[in-house]
Symmetry: C2
Subunit: 227 residues, 2 copies
């Protein structure tokens, strides 16, 4: 699959995230009109990601955010009751959308080799599409309260479990080698994460996500494939 094909086949996840936040916080938000809420939530989240990535969430002041999002301070606080609440909402609702899309794509496949490659591709494509969100989530998870933080860590492990499962299945059906699947999944995960953690570096070198996906798949193949 190519990135452009992927993009064409998934709905606008940014809007989905806003809608999910709206539904999850319907009672807390003081505004009534759905259309107004969605419009402003999008502005707030866009600005949060932009400024939060530049200088870190802690260093971003509510005044920064208010001018970045084009709302007054008072306006902001009719959507979220505190700065921490903005962080929590930004991270938690996004996650659900992400796993939903990932699941959808790999469900069809059963052959281990194809399944592994699809999982890697879709993960990279998702992180490309939502790269600001992934980077921000990674860097700011430590600023969540303990409970939400625990959820974030759990979710981090989801990709790893997914890859590990595919490796185990592949070994059972005899196409993959016997290896330390848990460790293998960890380092494969690390390679996937590098794409969004060092997005700037790869941009500067003109590496596209398609090239990176192709390279990663080729890189790990000689390791897990029976030779």
């Amino acid at each position: 699959m190519k990135y452009t094909e992927f993009i064409d086949s998934v709905p606008d996840s940014r809007l989905d995230i806003c809608r999910a936040v709206f539904i999850a916080n319907r009672e807390k938000i003081k505004i009534k009109k759905e259309k107004t809420i969605l419009k402003n939530l999008e502005k707030i989240f866009d600005a949060t990601l932009k400024i939060g990535i530049e200088k870190g969430f802690q260093a971003m002041t509510m005044r920064d955010l208010s001018s970045g999002a084009g709302l007054s301070m008072g306006g902001l606080y009719s959507y979220f009751s505190s700065k921490d609440e903005i962080l929590r909402a930004s991270l938690s609702e996004g996650r659900k959308i992400v796993w939903q899309i990932l699941d959808e794509f790999i469900q069809g496949e059963t052959a281990p080799i194809a399944k592994l490659e699809i999982a890697l591709e879709v993960h990279l494509f998702l992180t490309e599409k939502l790269h600001k969100w992934f980077y921000f989530s990674y860097m700011e998870a430590k600023n969540l309260n303990p409970e939400d933080r625990k959820n974030a860590v759990q979710s981090e492990l989801y990709t790893e479990k997914l890859i590990e499962g595919i490796l185990i299945d592949g070994q059972k059906t005899g196409v993959f080698r016997q290896t330390n699947h848990k460790l293998a999944a960890s380092v494969i995960k690390a390679m996937l994460q590098d794409w969004y953690l060092k997005r700037g570096k790869y941009s500067r070198r003109n590496i596209t996500v398609d090239q990176y996906a192709h390279f990663i798949i080729g890189f790990i193949r000689p390791f897990y494939l029976k030779s």
Copy 2:
């Protein structure tokens, strides 16, 4: 090489870092006695890493740091003129020590396979020994001023260049395959970084740095070796 052997053969880098900071900032520091300075610098840096990793450098207040280091606010400010200065000093002087040790160990080797494996091992061992420092550097580099930040990024690329160089040499002498060495170095770097970025996860799974090093080397070998 084993981690314990490595530890025995390098001097106490934490003290070296304090000494380097002392020398680099001799004029700015208002205290005269070297012994006092070294003792307090160590307390300050230890507390900075501890608290900075827990809640992030921005969220750490000077009051947090002062109580963590066992000095008064006034006392702190006779060592550093500002909070940013503490960050700058923590990151910049450490880097030099790190590259110095890495260079020392790989200089002797010329055979590409051995050289690559030593480089990976020593890098992992160094990040194990100074894992708080590495984690902190990675997470807080974005809070440096533009110039120091540029240095931090450059230094990040050093490992990558080193690995790339070994891969190129290995190909020239005919033991390594022809690959995209730049990309290969990037993803190998990502695997090395995972060790200190996810230190807690590997601890919980009882993976030692020796096991991780062994696994990584085995993981990438089938990729770069001519078969």
